[in-house]
């Protein structure tokens, strides 16, 4: 790092004064290749800062610190050690122009300080409330299975310090104490089972408050005060706290679920040993003989966890799914479906998972020898909380005949056997019985030539048979990329052991298209029956000496979507 280059850039900047550059200097427990001590000019005021520059600036940018942070006002985007948060580096592209990037960062720092001191960006506190709460001294991480409806209620929590207390080494004890998390929920204790939480369950309070005025985070450089908590209790009004307090235990745990005036939801908490609550309904005040420890609450309820996958409520949540076929395609579909919010799924497959399956199946050697549907059931429940999975080991035809499966009980059906004969049976069964349930048929073509997804909403008269035609050679699939009358199956284990070769990436592609088409359907972006054909590279297909159809040649796009009625 050339200090002269850095100094020259700063000297050219009218908003930077008193520049001193140091090489390989430590500051706030970080070592920088170049540390610059200077003043930033902000609305005529000189703010002493430290700019830390590392050779990794292309990925980490620069660190800006306010040097006299102990006496600097508490403003948004400045951490308690004085570090200014310049940019959220997630999904940001950093230009390789050092001077440009440094100049831009300086301006950003100035703007952050200026808007903070003037109060212009005070609302930013609201958006990042939890990040300031997390910086409070002696904070405890709490995980909350938040209820689906916001109502003040009794809280059950587990805060198990037994492992820490067993430590004889003081340092280890402190480390364990500081890393012990608190788990809490309101509706039931299922959360503790789901997340395998052991320890004594105690009662606390979960208090919901709709704020009339904005609540800003406390200064993280100070301990959380009684006054701050009492301010929240005052805002809670007559929420039935008195009744809940009677069953609360020491240490008193209060979790506040706040709705700011702009509907931003903030959940925070406090734990207090030897606490007392005095007052009457609507006017409770906390008295705490020992310190109040802030709880930084992260939600672990399904609704919140799934919100990272979509910007609004998940369209697949609450819908019942029947998945027929738990082979390569079906296994990836099942995994993606539950991760996409589908929380009720019935799996149908009568085959075992064998060694030869594991390289193109979601499941691996752990489940070899198990029925595919049962193994998948176990895997999904072990890894995703709060889902209902049922596994059926049989052929769908038999299950339907025995009435063990009623298609009309499901919101949609996924046909993932990859077997057109089974698909035709499903189609015929549904049409004959006039069942109005949408079906998504998914199948792969050999090797890397491609895959297809066919969506039929049976309420509008669609028919799977429409993809077939016949000529002098017999019936053929009009959608196929692979010419008919070629030997495409392989057999490595004798009669009954034949299979169509393709890699797991083809099944993953099919699964992605399947989940996507369902999301489109449930967000009303599909108006008719559709065929989505994904054209593969075909390198291995052609190397195997196989021939493709005109349809393959005629498709220009990698993924083509056409109406079922238009398939020629």
């Amino acid at each position: 790092m050339d200090l002269k280059i850095v100094k020259d850039i700063l000297l050219d900047n009218r908003n930077v004064e008193s520049v001193c550059c140091y090489e390989h200097k430590e500051y706030k427990q970080n070592t920088y290749d170049c540390a610059v001590f200077c003043d930033l000019v902000v609305d005529g005021k000189r703010i002493p800062v430290m700019i830390g520059i590392s050779d990794t600036w292309r990925t980490t940018l620069f660190d800006f610190y306010i040097r006299d942070n102990d006496v600097f006002p508490f403003i948004p985007h400045v951490e308690k050690n004085g570090k200014i948060c310049l940019y959220d580096l997630e999904a940001v592209l950093i230009d390789a122009n050092f001077e440009g990037v440094l100049t831009q960062c300086i301006q950003r720092a100035i703007d952050t300080i200026r808007t903070g001191l003037s109060g212009e960006n005070i609302k930013d506190f609201i958006e990042e409330f939890n990040s300031y709460w997390l910086q409070l001294p002696r904070v405890i991480i709490a995980k909350l299975d938040a209820p689906s409806t916001r109502n003040t209620a009794r809280l059950k929590y587990v805060y198990d310090l037994s492992a820490a207390k067993k430590q004889t080494d003081i340092i280890q004890q402190k480390l364990l104490e500081s890393s012990t998390e608190l788990f809490a929920c309101t509706d039931s204790s299922n959360m503790f089972i789901t997340w395998e939480i052991t320890g004594t369950q105690k009662n606390g309070l979960y208090i919901c408050v709709d704020l009339e005025e904005y609540l800003y985070p406390p200064d993280p450089r100070q301990n959380l005060s009684e006054g701050y908590i009492n301010q929240l209790l005052g805002m809670a009004g007559e929420a039935g706290i008195g009744r809940l307090l009677k069953k609360a235990r020491d240490p008193l745990v209060l979790i506040f679920d706040l709705l700011q005036p702009d509907k931003t939801r903030v959940i925070l908490g406090a734990m207090c040993s030897k606490a007392s609550m005095a007052g009457t309904e609507g006017k409770y005040q906390l008295g705490c003989k020992s310190e109040i420890r802030p709880l930084c609450v992260t939600r672990v309820d399904v609704e919140y966890l799934q919100s990272r996958t979509a910007d609004t409520a998940n369209p697949l949540r609450g819908r019942k799914c029947l998945l027929i076929g738990c082979g390569s395609i079906g296994s990836y579909i099942a995994g993606m479906m539950v991760k996409s919010g589908c929380d009720d799924i019935t799996l149908v497959d009568n085959q075992f998972l064998n060694e030869e399956n594991i390289y193109r199946h979601l499941l691996g050697k752990q489940y070899v020898g198990d029925y595919k549907s049962v193994a998948l059931d176990k895997h999904l429940k072990n890894n995703v909380p709060d889902i209902s999975v049922k596994s059926l080991v049989d052929r769908i035809e038999d299950l339907a005949m025995e009435e063990s499966v009623d298609f009309s009980n499901y919101d949609f059906v996924l046909a993932a056997t990859g077997n057109h004969n089974v698909n035709r049976w499903i189609n015929n069964y549904i049409k004959t019985n006039e069942i109005k349930v949408p079906v998504v048929y998914t199948w792969n073509e050999p090797l890397d030539i491609g895959c297809h997804v066919l969506f039929i909403d049976y309420s509008s008269g669609g028919d799977f048979e429409s993809i077939f035609s016949s000529d002098e050679n017999g019936e053929y699939d009009k959608t196929a990329y692979c010419c008919s009358n070629q030997i495409i199956t392989r057999n490595q284990s004798g009669c009954g052991g034949s299979f169509i070769p393709y890699g797991s990436e083809v099944s993953i592609q099919s699964a992605m298209l399947t989940v996507d088409i369902l999301k489109q359907f449930y967000t009303r972006r599909i108006a008719c029956d559709l065929l989505i054909s994904c054209k593969g590279n075909g390198f291995f297909f052609h190397r195997a000496g196989l021939e493709h159809t005109n349809r393959y040649d005629n498709q220009l796009e990698m993924i083509a979507t056409e109406h079922l009625s238009d398939i020629l």
């Binding site: 000297l11 009218r14 001193c20 005529g44």
Partner: protein, 348 residues
Amino acid sequence: MDLQSCFIAFHDKIRLNSSTKKELREKRDTLLRILRDSGKLPSFNEFSQGSYGMSLGIEPIAGEEYDIDVGLRFNVNKDDFEPLDLKDAIFQILEDHTDYGAKIKNPCITVTYKKDGEKAFHVDLVSYAYEDKNDHDSQMYLAKGKTSNQEDDNYWEKADPVELLNYIKDTIDCEEDREQFRRAVKYLKRWKNLKFDNSGHAEPPSIGITLLVLNNFVARKGDDLSVLVEAVNNIVESFHFHNVDGNGRWIYTISCPMPLGLRFEPDSDAFNKMTHVQMTNFRDKAVKLLDDLREVQEEADLVKQCKKLNKIFGDDFEIPEVEAVSKNQLNYIPSSTASGVDDGFENS
């Protein structure tokens, strides 16, 4: 095209254009008329001071205002008035003259005007009184102070603004050299506008730069770059080491007393409002400027020179199109020998 023509073009961009000067003059004249017609002030004679008076005014950079400084020599004895008496009276007359009103500052009263809804101009009215109102050659005094509060420092300060102006105007005899001097000062004023924040006294005062450039000025016909290099070198040489601060930074000071023979307070110095830290910051930037200008001198290619100067002086220093430069260069390629003339080369 050569570098000098680029400097001239830059100068043309930054100097105050005639319509702006006219507008400033009109505003000045309007204020003077209001003051005279008010009947609330003693008689006075005005004169232009500051950059306008010295023909050193430049276009302000974006976000800053045009300004004109007007000295008001009141025909009064300074002992007959408190420093704020005249300023308060002026303030009351002009208080609501514009949307932004008038403001009493330590050395002057500022009246701010807007244009297109934004602050655009201000006129600084500086009040003077005489030692002896009947002798206009007697010592002049500047009225300093902002409020009548006892804590504030209100006083009459010895000043000789007209002679200072004359000194700056008349030191260089040759008109062409004087023009070059003015260009150099304007270039440096644009540089300082870009490189220094103008709040407080962080930005070195224009009078200081003007005097430093003038005191050591050597004209270089058609070579503004060399004049600039020498001027900045002289500025850098004017700094003196003072001490080392707690961070190990070397602290410098600079001084530029008023010219000998002028009747200012004995300790008057163009840089006396700057702190040592501000002076050191000034030196740091001046040293860099000197390095950058020397790099321009060492660069042979015109376009590259202009790119460096554009970085120093901002976008008003234009970078010529490569074609415009190369066209000129092509003009310097010798023509081929005429046909039929033996050029002395063997046929291949």
